[in-house]
Symmetry: C2
Subunit: 444 residues, 2 copies
């Protein structure tokens, strides 16, 4: 404080206060305080909004299935049989954070997950992190919410928690580690940066407004201070996959439609078979969960951009304009891997991306892709640092992601233009019952 | 190429072709080609869309004033008396690139600016970079457009060119360098990273869809290959200023409304006085132009978040909720720097940000702020690398930005939470007449 400005703060207010829990009870009503709410700013009922099912007994709220209902610019149910943000129609923007535990105290982590759950549920409903409002009720304490999402809608925010293998090791919970949560093998061509890989846990924030996603991650990181610290984080500015038939197929930074043949929320049997952990798959606590694979894939776009259209299309196996498989005419025509061109060669080349990644080339393996385009400034060598932050959800990474990535790493001609420099695998616990908290089945 | 896939490419197609000018004339109509257009995908008339005024004689097209007309999700006129992207209502997202010349050939740079102009005008109209369409007409050449914006609307894209002091030195044009394009002095506390500072020229892309802005920068960089190379680039995910009274005031990552008292497009006299270079201000070629100051300001948000609400509000000089000056009740109440609180001390503290930055504290200095929030991953020490990419436009940086920044750097209590690690200053030429090209007045 400058000596020229008389302070109105009480003497006991520390100059550099220790982190204050955002849920600190209010002690006074101060200037600018008073249960300020994002929704009130928007003309909705404010702090009094009741969260459906909050405080009720265990049980899934009706309609809160996280089952892929479109919810553009709206509220995606936070609770349900599965975590939201997996089959939820892919939102436009993403902020993903990998965190390391700075504590080995299991009970402390459990308490953190309870706090996180309360804040996450509020934020996905378009509210501030705590019932104390955006600025808090006590001017001598840090505000309960960091404030940058004030006035913004829920924007379809979803928050998805994942646990890395090292989580179980650090907390002495090796017996609870799912066998499917393997250490990913090295793949041909991997150039992994440890500062962009791994992590004890992760939170994926997806929303239609990037400020809403950034706000959510920042506030969860803040609540975790003392128990977790940021290991790496990644912004994605544009979705590269559709996870619903209601969505148009977006384009990746190679300029091609991406995810045409992705699993879709409207195919529940396929989703059950390939995405959700079923009873008997592993430890009971993971039933209803899924595994999240993250790969930061730098794309050498400058080299790609000097490649001929024909070469690009043969590498992908689809046309650049319409996005049809080279065996067909329309985007959603089923790729016919046996089709031949006029010269008797395969219409879809033998090393084309869509052939190698096709279920019929991989004994039926399918994955749910949910990645995002990124540009992270430049690389210092005259090029943009751009690419695809690949995110996929699978029922079992060992039998789904590993064989697919191995085939691509070894044979995909596209690999010439790619650099996998980040990699992580997380177990995403099942969804939250009413009154429950993230990963509760692991702790109880 | 794999030996197992017979190539259908002609023998003369090089395996690693040299960069092909995107405007290479078509030689054949190939698979997937054919004048594909972003607009055609959207159901608009396609490649035949005529650009208003294109090819007409010198003169400003009616209605193309770049004068701040709201154009949400629409097309912002590319041509006009001033460059677009300055008083244009601030779009939601930004991609900014600083480039260095890799050529010292003035005529080559002039030709590049002509090519850039043609591509930029098309992209701001929601079209591909060239009339050859998105994928080009020749499958043996690289596509004319990189493709990732196919199907996306114009999204209010603006592209704004700026020239750094080193531009004039490299091209032997020192006599043309405007005296106002100074070398910025060092400010107290500066921690500038040369890899985030300076640059021979810059292009600011603002749009309401980040993929549209990224696409534009990438394609301009591509067209510039051989003449320019990326020095640094910055994505901004959310605007932190309003430049029109029609816009709500957004919030920065300190959680406060930012730019409440900014210059607005609806105040043309103020804009003329503080933003546009007038005749007699400097070299004639800059008349109608402006100067762009860019500062990458890391915000130590974790420390800020541990600061009490009262402290935060006294540092800013406004409340966090409503955003009113501490001397008033409502956001747009004029800050009364002379107002006193009940205890006789200044209502707006003597070292508050809004006092130090106020025109009345700076002999009437005002600037047009047009910055963006950013999060660039993490810093490797457990924190997010987050902050404000400050962009301002001024008529004269020496008499406007320098005294303001000097006052803030020396006295602003907020500086404790900030780290200025990037800095650059560019001269933005005036707008483009019909048929003219970027910076034409400099070359002719």
């Amino acid at each position: 404080m400058s000596t020229t400005r008389p302070s109105t703060r009480p003497a006991e207010a520390p100059q550099t206060p220790p982190p204050t829990p955002p849920d600190e009870p209010p002690t006074a009503s101060g200037e600018g305080g008073g249960g300020f709410s994002r929704r009130r700013l928007l003309g909705f009922a404010g702090a009094g909004v009741a969260l459906a099912g909050a405080g009720a007994g265990i049980g899934f709220a009706a309609g809160a299935s996280s089952g892929g209902e479109p919810a553009r610019d709206g509220v995606v149910p936070f609770r349900g049989r599965h975590q939201a943000g997996i089959v939820t129609p892919a939102q436009d923007r993403m902020h993903f954070v990998s965190l390391d535990l700075t504590s080995t105290d299991r009970a402390e982590v459990q308490r953190l997950f309870q706090k996180w759950t309360a804040a996450a549920e509020r934020m996905t409903a378009g509210l501030e992190t705590s019932e104390n409002g955006a600025v808090g009720l006590n001017p001598y304490s840090p505000p309960a919410d960091t404030g940058e999402a004030l006035g913004l809608p829920a924007a379809s925010l979803t928050l998805t928690l994942g646990l890395g293998a090292s989580f179980f090791a650090k907390l002495g919970m090796a017996d609870e580690r799912p066998p499917a949560l393997i250490d990913l093998p090295a793949f041909t061509g991997d150039q992994l940066d440890p500062n962009r890989s791994g992590g004890d846990l992760c939170i994926q924030a997806c929303s239609d407004d990037p400020q809403v996603g950034v706000h959510a991650i920042r506030n969860l990181v803040r609540i975790g201070f003392g128990t977790t610290a940021v290991r790496w984080s990644q912004l994605g500015f544009g979705r590269t996959s559709s996870t619903s038939t209601a969505q148009a197929t977006p384009r990746n930074l190679f300029g091609f439609k991406d995810g045409t043949n992705n699993l879709k929320a409207e195919e529940p049997q396929e989703i059950d078979q390939h995405v959700w952990v079923e009873p008997g798959d592993g430890p009971d606590w993971m039933t209803g969960g899924s595994y999240l694979v993250a790969r930061r894939i730098r794309m050498h776009i400058e080299t790609w951009d000097r490649t001929s259209l024909q070469e690009q299309e043969q590498i992908v196996g689809r046309t650049k304009g319409e996005g049809n498989p080279l065996s067909g005419q329309k985007e959603f025509d089923v790729a016919n891997l046996a089709a031949q061109g006029a010269d008797g060669t395969p219409a879809i080349p033998v090393d084309a991306h869509i052939r190698l990644a096709a279920a019929e080339s991989l004994n039926g393996v399918k994955i749910l892709r949910r990645g995002y385009n990124f540009v992270d400034g430049s690389d210092g060598s005259g090029h943009l640092d751009a690419g695809l932050f690949f995110v996929a959800f699978v029922r079992n990474p060992e039998t789904q992601f590993v064989p697919m990535q191995r085939a691509l790493a070894n044979k995909d001609k596209m690999m010439e233009y790619l650099e996998h420099n980040g990699s992580a695998l997380f177990a995403c616990p099942p969804g939250l019952a009413d009154g429950g908290y993230w990963a509760q089945s692991l702790f109880t």
